[in-house]
Structure formats: structure tokens, C-alpha cells
Subunit: 454 residues, 2 copies
Amino acid sequence: MSEVKDYIEANKDRFLEELFGLIRIPSISSIEAHKDDMYKAAQYWKQAMLNAGVDKAEVMETKGNPVTYAEKIIDPALPTVLVYGHMDVMPVDPIELWHSKPFEPEIRDGKIYARGADDDKGQAFMHAKAFEIMNKTGKLNCNIKFMIEGEEEIGSPNLGEFCKEHKDMLKADIILVSDTGMIARDIPSITTGLRGLSFMEIELTGPNKDLHSGLFGGAVANPANVLTKIIASLTDGDGKITIPGFYDDVIEVSDEERKEMAKAPFDLEKYKKNLDIDVVDGEKGYSTNERTGIRPSLDVNGIWSGYTGEGAKTVLPSKAYAKVSMRLVPNQDNKKISELFIKHIEAIVPPTAKVKVTALHGGQGYVSPIDMPAYKAAELAYTEVYGKTPVPTRSGGSIPIISTFEEILGIKSILMGFGLEEDAIHSPNENFPLENFYKGIETIVAFYKYYHTS
Amino acid sequence: MSEVKDYIEANKDRFLEELFGLIRIPSISSIEAHKDDMYKAAQYWKQAMLNAGVDKAEVMETKGNPVTYAEKIIDPALPTVLVYGHMDVMPVDPIELWHSKPFEPEIRDGKIYARGADDDKGQAFMHAKAFEIMNKTGKLNCNIKFMIEGEEEIGSPNLGEFCKEHKDMLKADIILVSDTGMIARDIPSITTGLRGLSFMEIELTGPNKDLHSGLFGGAVANPANVLTKIIASLTDGDGKITIPGFYDDVIEVSDEERKEMAKAPFDLEKYKKNLDIDVVDGEKGYSTNERTGIRPSLDVNGIWSGYTGEGAKTVLPSKAYAKVSMRLVPNQDNKKISELFIKHIEAIVPPTAKVKVTALHGGQGYVSPIDMPAYKAAELAYTEVYGKTPVPTRSGGSIPIISTFEEILGIKSILMGFGLEEDAIHSPNENFPLENFYKGIETIVAFYKYYHTS
């Protein structure tokens, strides 16, 4: 593969500059004011794919943000790979914790620091460059399609419909995705499972206006106090979720499989040190990797009520809000879980407050079989580039659209992730090591080589 | 008193314009950026008192915001009344709920709408105008002193020291304060009890940075989840506060006294309708007025963590915060309660999070005897102006400095409040009826008449 390495070496600065151009577009999908940026990012992707040599590329409308689609069909008889990635990113707050501007990429200590550096601009863009290399060096041995969407971080609400409408266009043998992580810089891994997601918002209303906590405190229920009781009751002392029916569809993983999973290298002390925590926490009877890999969880992603500024304000607030998400394991249905959640909250809210519960977004979990040709090809590709057989792992994260692809398009996905735990995705100072960016491109090119011959 | 009424009638627009000048200064004491405004308000008060005819008026420094002191000594042998009030106001958020600008007073439906219209610019300024009337019409029959401070809304942290340093200057027979309410427009009342206050802030730290809730959720304790459990545990199902030792110093009010208190007019249906709540809530075994008047309470005044913007962000936050205040009844010591709170929170915080608890401010409760001459004078004054004997009531609110006055200066206070429950103090659209403003001035002038002869 020295030709591939040589090509990367000769073009490394340009590759980076092209990625930076994409990163500089603040394409935050959850904030309406960034709508235009979504179109800018889509156009940027279109131009990048045309430059790399596709037959056609277009920005296609959905009911929400646009999708950039591109393809190069070299021979209909050959296998087709559909690359999926997303151009949208998470919000950047708390902005004051960033050491450099989130949308002005900066290289420090061999890493790209920026929102989207890893998730998913950096990772998705590796595919554009891998394609360019194969195309320009005559190595392209498959038909290739790209579908880059702009709503992954808000749960891909319109991509399912897009897939339904363009089933023929999207026909492929495998979907290739880089939007996950690997165990460590020198320990490659392939994500074989993803958790599902139910993301909920609770709005509690007590009195119809903010009150003086002295004049009313003790006589009128405070919705912030009520909210803490509701949320506190959602998990018990063993770290179990108390929503009735929540675990009904969870498939218990066999002891044998758990033993296999436990072989994956994991340094608990380093994990704790990296997060500066004294102890880990979670569901009783499960290890840290099991708690994120094969067990569901419930987290407050945001909570707010009353006065949150400097100093004191003796207010008894009228409203209290929380964003609560549940990560689900395969076989749990996110729509069913969202309904159970709403039903449960409505059942336990006391008569002192009115409640409105909304499902903001959700997605199903996914399990990728390790005996399919694409998995074998990915395994060989990592082994060639990293010198080690990749470890199959279950990720705690969610890419809701992956299970939708299987449902609507009938196509399995292979998750070749190059992110690291310390990349701080979704956090201030998100970063992506240059090494992973370049090695990722190399591994992707290798994937096609082995996939073709599989 | 027709001469008083005539004077008010002839000068009513000027009185209002002078008050509006004070209101227009955004003297929010809890926000450091408004420091200059505190000095502007102090100067405004100084000039207003000089215009009204005091012998001397000055802006005096404290370690915090300045105090405006003014006096007119007509005869050292006569009784001396010390008027206390405050020129600082609460923050204005949520600003979007105001129907007019908080610092641009507007008259609608016979009410002044503005931050501070009631609490305490409107109420304190009535004393300036009552003094002017007595002074200009030759009715002044007592020595009079004014102490208007700038830190009441943040717990008067420096006024105790100021009193200690100026004990001689502040010598008086009674302290007269208008910073409380009356039962209704046509039902005058005198506040005979105030609750104390302990205002605390909790800061919980989980992991050292915001994490992706998919990758870490279920394995790392979420400080927002932990915070809800801590706060939820502070009150039990009977509305009792669970902090060990919390009720130790509470004096139970006798059944006889409770029967007396229950005679005060109170319309529960109107109360609930006004707040748009289906049920009231609070400590089991006590009525609504008892819950705010003679029982302590615990309220979340603010809570915040994670992502609180539009849409979804799957973050497992590093930090979670809450502002929690406790209203205390006479004989509970706020410093002791603050310590019990800190000790309790530190004892119950799980090893999964680090906690920092800070006492933001506090004050002792106060009980005013109904047999002192000043109470009798106030009773007669209200009876003359309103045609009804005022009802003695216990307020749920706190004016921490009142008990400090008794401690340091050895002077009792009489609380002649003219605010109404619906004035929305500390809330958006704070207001004060013009009727209360003018009748309040009249009642204050009457107080001096009866106090002199008592």
C-alpha cells in the first residue's frame, strides 16, 4: 500500500485544509439560526465530492436540512458501498471552556481542535479523501455512493423519509460509517453494537407566575422541588430505572458473551483518572463496559428553573424544565420507551403541578453481525494498517439512523470508527488526532481492497 | 387631616415624578455591574431628603453599597423615629415576561408598573413625602432619621457593621419600616412577625468535563441526577424538612394563638385562582397562612445543569448547581441552620460527586410585640385612614436586618406595610397601586400624630 501512503504524504496539507474549510462552517443542527450554515455545509460537501471525481453530486432537499448525495458507478455488476456520514455538529456551549474558537480549527500537540473535528466532519471527510485516492490512483474497485446528512445530532428526523423516497438511488451492498470510536490510539476496534435513544423534555408548571419565596414558600408547591423528586425517583439505589415496563424487552447477554467482552483491554484506573472521579457508578452487577455497552441508562442532559445568575434571588419559580435521555439496548423500542416514560411521568406528577412531556427524538439500537463479509474486510484492513486484529466492541452511543437503514433499505452497516475517548466529542475542546485522520484514510482504502475480494 | 389630604392632592403628580426618578435607576444589588447605579440611587435619596427639608443628608460608605442617612432633630427631648428602607431592587429576569420595561415606570389601571414600584422604592419613598408634608405644614412633632440602605435584597451583609459604627447617630425610640404587605386593598394589617432566611448554593462536580451521554451514560454518575436525589431528599412526604436538627429550635405556636390567627380573613379559593393552582401544598397539619407565617420552609430558588437551550444535546454534564433557601421562624438561628445544611449535604453526597456548599446570605426572624406604643399608634393611624382596625399578621417573608437592629441598636421595629399580594414583587410586572402609595403617605403622617401622644 505504499502508493496510498505516498499519496497521503504528498497531499496531507491539502487534505487538512479541505477539512478545515468544512469545519469553519458552524453547522449546528439543533439551533434554528444556523439553518443557512447547513446549506453551506451541504454545498461544501458537493464541491468536495466533485473535486474528488464522482460522476454526480447534488444537494437534495428534505423536510429539514439538506442531504448531499454523490456517486460513482464504475460497473453495475460490482458491489456497491454506501458511505454515510453527517455534516451537522453539536452546539458549542459552555463556550467559555474552549481554549480556541470552536469553528476555527487549530492544531495543538498533533490534534485538530474544533467542533466537528472528530464528530463527524473529521471522520466523514476521511471517506471523501479515501475515495479521491482510489479514484486518482486507479484502485477503485466498487461502485461508491455518499449520503451525508445534516440532522444526525438531532436524531435524523427526516432521513428515514429520504431513504424511503430514494430507495433505488441508495441501493447498496453495505453501508460504511465512521462515526464511532476505537479503544485506544494503538488498539483498533470495530463497533458491533449501538444503543438506542429516547430523548425527552419535561416541563413542569406550578403557580402561574414566579412568586416571592418568603411570602409563598411552604404553602405553594415549588415546581423545581417537585421536579427533583420526579427525576430522583426514576432510578433506584441499585442504579435500575424504575419506569414500569422499562426492562421488558431487554435481552440479557449470556455469561459466555459477557466473558468474551470482558477480554477487551480496559484500564479502570486510567478511566477514572481521565475523568477525575473517585468511583464509577451505575447498575449493580455490571462492569463499566457492560453498563455502557449492553445495559440501558437514564441521564439528565439538562435541567433549569428559577434564578440561575450571580448571587441570590428569593424566587419560587413558576416553571421547571429537564431534558432527560435514555440509552436503550437492542430489542428495546424507542417509541415504546418514550411512551412508557410519558405515561409514567404523567402518573407520578403530584396534583400540585401540571406536566408536559415531549419526546424530542429517538432511535433504535443496532447490532452488527461479525460474520458478514464487510466485517471481515474491515478486520483485515485494520490488521494491515495497525498491525493488530481489531476488537469487536459495543458502544454506548447511538446512531439512531443505522437501525432505520436496515429497516427501510434492508442494508447492514459496518462501523469503522477512528475516534478516541479523549476526543471530547459533544464537549468543549473537541479534538481529533492527525494520526487517526491519516491512518483512517489508509484503513478505509484497505477496506475496499479486502471487501472487493471477499 | 384634611390639610394632609389637600397637600397630597396638590402635589400628587410631583410626588410620583420624584418616585419615578428613583425607579429609573436600575439599582440591582446582586449584580456587580450595577455598582454605579447604587451610588446614583444613594445620591438621589440624599437630594430628595434635602429637598424635603432635613437638616442634613449624606451618602455614607460601607464595605458594600452606600447608605443614605438623613435627619431632622427638632428637639432632643422629643421621641425619635428612625425610618428604614432600601433603595436596591431584585434582578428583572425573566425579562421577556414583562409587559413594559422594568426601569421605565408606567401607569396602567391605576397601578405603577416597574421593578421597585412596591419593593421597596415605592414604599420607602412614601416616608420621604410624609416627612415633607409634616415639615412643610408644621406638623412635625418628633425627631426623624432616615437610613436607606442598598443591600437589603442580598441580605444586608454590611448594615450590621454600619449600625455598630454609628450607634449614636442612629439612636431612636422606634424604627419605622414599610417593606411588607397588607391583607387586601381594604383590609389593613400590621406585620408582627417575619421569617428568617438561610440562602445556600450547592455546586456538584462529577466528571472533570462534559461527557457524551451515550458513551459514558450508565457508567459515570451524572451530577444532575445526583443533585435531584440530594434535593428531593431534603423534604419528606409530609412536607417536613429532613435536615437533622432543623426543627430543634422552632417554637410551636399555641393552639390558642393559632385560633386567633385563623380569624384573619383568607379566601383559599381566591388564593388558588390567583395563582392558577389546583391545590395548595406544604407541611401536614398546618393551614396555608400557618405554613408561611409560623412554619419554616425550603425552596429551590434556582437549579441548572447541562444543556438548557433549544432542542437536544446528549451531554452528561460535569457540573450541577442549585440555589436553595430556607425560611426560618423566630428562635431558629440562621447561622446554625446554614451550618446544619452544609453538614447534612456533605454527609449525604455520594462518593460519585464532589460538593461545595456556600451560604450566600441569611438573617434572623423577628416578632414585634403588639403592646408597644408604636404598634398602638400604627393601629390608630390605619383605623383613621382605612376606617378599619388593622389585623396583626405574621409574614412569610424576611427582612433579615430587622432582628439585627434589635440586637445591635436595641430598638424595636414597627412594620407598616402597604404592599398587596398581587404586586408581584421579585417577579415580572411588579406593581404598586397609586391608591396605596397616596393612602400610605396619609397613614404614615397619622402614625406620627398618634405616636407623639402615646
